[in-house]
């Protein structure tokens, strides 16, 4: 009798795909309603600067990547709230600056190009048990935060001034959301990479918005879409021997394209 079991790296990747689907799809709703589609791009590229710094200093790139991502999220928030620029302006500046810093630091660190590639396009072999623990923790924290403050977050998304007048701590909710997004994006980089992570942040809720006009249903549908994209993408990549991050991004694009097909029934 023979038994088949999944290789440990694939098991780790599947668990990461599952946890990140739950995390990013939840945050995806707020990304879409706030028009923050490029926030994931800005944060992930800023994190790449941190990755390069880690290589230059000869330490694990995880911590500097996290620090760069959190700093980017805060800078984007401050530029918006203090100077009134749209988030996209700060993202556009940070995106290229941090990426430039990353490339310069990589060139100085004499690291292998494949190291940079792991972070640009993801490498499921690098996902550790500690990463999974962090993903589970941040996912739990995000669900607690959004579950607790959903009313305030919704009112803030509709109109921040109105939320302020109702006594809602808008600055706290805004920065908390940005920080959770920064943490989620950094965690997702190992699975799908700096360049492809945006697909997992934007697609789930964009598809769900096509299917429903109720925010509660959109959040639930977004979770379902995220799970389908991540798990189908990862399994396809394993079966067809394709790069996992890229396959997941293409799957996300395909699911979004399918959602554009007109439905006969009206939105629920």
């Amino acid at each position: 009798m023979t038994t088949t079991s999944l290789p440990p790296f694939l098991l780790h990747a599947l668990m990461a795909a599952l946890l990140l689907a739950l995390l990013l799809s939840l945050l995806s709703f707020f990304v879409v309603v706030h028009n923050w589609a490029f926030l994931g791009v800005g944060i992930s590229h800023a994190a790449f600067g941190g990755v390069a710094l880690g290589f230059l200093l000869g330490i694990s790139p995880d911590l500097p990547a996290l620090a760069f991502a959190v700093a980017a999220a805060l800078i984007i928030g401050v530029v918006k709230r203090r100077w009134g620029f749209h988030e996209d302006i700060a993202i556009g500046i940070l995106f290229s600056t941090a990426m430039g810093v990353g490339v310069i630091l990589f060139s100085l660190s004499r690291g292998y190009t494949s190291d940079a590639f792991s972070y640009l396009f993801g490498n499921i072999l690098t996902i550790t048990g500690r990463d999974l623990g962090l993903m589970a923790g941040i996912t739990l924290l995000s669900y607690l935060f959004i579950g607790l403050f959903l009313k305030g977050l919704i009112l803030m998304a509709i109109n921040e001034e109105l939320a302020y007048v109702r006594g809602i701590p808008t600055a706290f909710l805004y920065y908390s959301l940005l920080l959770l997004l920064a943490l989620a994006v950094v965690l997702a980089i190992k699975l799908v990479g700096v360049i492809l992570v945006t697909a997992l942040v934007v697609v789930p809720s964009s598809v769900a918005t096509r299917l429903s006009s109720s925010y509660k249903k959109i959040i639930l549908l977004s979770l379902a879409v995220g799970l389908v994209v991540n798990l189908v993408g990862l399994i396809l990549s394993y079966i067809l021997d394709l790069p996992p991050g890229a396959t997941m991004a293409v799957t996300a694009g395909a699911v979004f394209s399918l959602s554009l097909i007109p439905l006969r029934t009206s939105k629920a």
């Binding site: 309603v33 305030g152 009112l155 998304a157 509709i158 109109n159 701590p169 918005t209 006009s213």
Partner: protein
């Protein structure tokens, strides 16, 4: 004697170093319905945001029902309809929008309660939209959306209602209905209403008093007193024709106009 609903004393506001409001003194008594008119950039929205405590004045004093704006906000005494509602396409029902108006610092982390739902339905009833409570908000007409937003501002049972261009995106007939609703609400709920509008001719029928604002207040008092063409010319910087739209739609006519005076 009760404190005025809104009391501004020598209020001065600057934004990015530019004076937007200068030496504003205005007293609005409880239960009064005021209109604020004036040109674009004249400081109308800034005035409302100062009363709400969103903007801190550089000089002078703002009191709302005898207390600071911040404290009035905390107590839920202020209802507000902003000029630009960014979330008009947000996937919520009309009822949910109104229930969100009941959010405050003590309940914003709790799920919606049954009493909140009933209060929201009551607010929708006040604006004549109880039948649309389950409709998706983005699918309502412009006029209906504005009425839902007024219901949202009313849901917290405020004592003072501040409305910034409530007729934005609303056709002429619906505007008329909107003003009728406001006037009725003022009478039924003894609300104090302060409404910013461009609708110079029409609001004179509905408000008790008007303030003409262009950085400073050029006139405050009886609405017909504000229709003087010299005053409006000073306010807007050029001759102004005032068209009066009759509430029963029996015809519009030019009330005052320099060009007509010269004919």
């Amino acid at each position: 004697m009760p404190a005025p609903a809104i009391d501004l004393k020598k209020v001065t506001v600057s934004l990015n170093g530019r004076p937007v409001l200068e030496n504003i003194t205005l007293q609005i008594q409880e239960g009064e319905f005021w209109g604020i008119i004036g040109p674009n950039g004249g400081g109308k929205t800034t005035l409302l945001r100062t009363i709400l405590g969103i903007i801190k004045p550089r000089g002078g004093e703002v009191r709302v029902l005898g207390i600071s704006p911040k404290e009035a906000v905390k107590r839920g005494w202020l209802g507000y309809l902003p000029q630009r509602m960014t979330g008009r396409n947000f996937p919520v029902s009309a009822l949910e929008v109104v229930m969100l108006g009941e959010c405050n610092r003590s309940n914003f982390f709790k799920p919606f309660q049954r009493e909140e739902r009933e209060a929201a339905l009551h607010a929708l009833r006040l604006v004549g939209l109880e039948g649309k409570s389950q409709e998706p908000f983005p699918q309502l007409s412009g006029g209906e959306q504005q009425r839902v937003l007024i219901a949202m501002a009313l849901a917290s049972q405020p004592r003072v209602l501040l409305l910034d261009e409530p007729n934005t995106g609303v056709d002429v007939v619906a505007q008329e209905g909107l003003y009728q609703v406001l006037r009725r609400l003022r009478e039924e709920l003894s609300l104090t209403i302060l409404m910013v509008t461009h609708d110079v001719g029409v609001i004179s029928h509905f408000v008790d008093r008007i303030a003409c604002l262009n950085t400073t207040i050029h006139f405050s008092g009886d609405p017909w007193g504000a229709m003087e063409c010299d005053l409006l010319e000073k306010l807007y910087g050029e001759p102004v024709d005032v068209f009066v739209h009759h509430p029963q739609c029996q015809g519009c006519h030019v009330l005052r106009s320099k060009s007509h005076d010269h004919d």
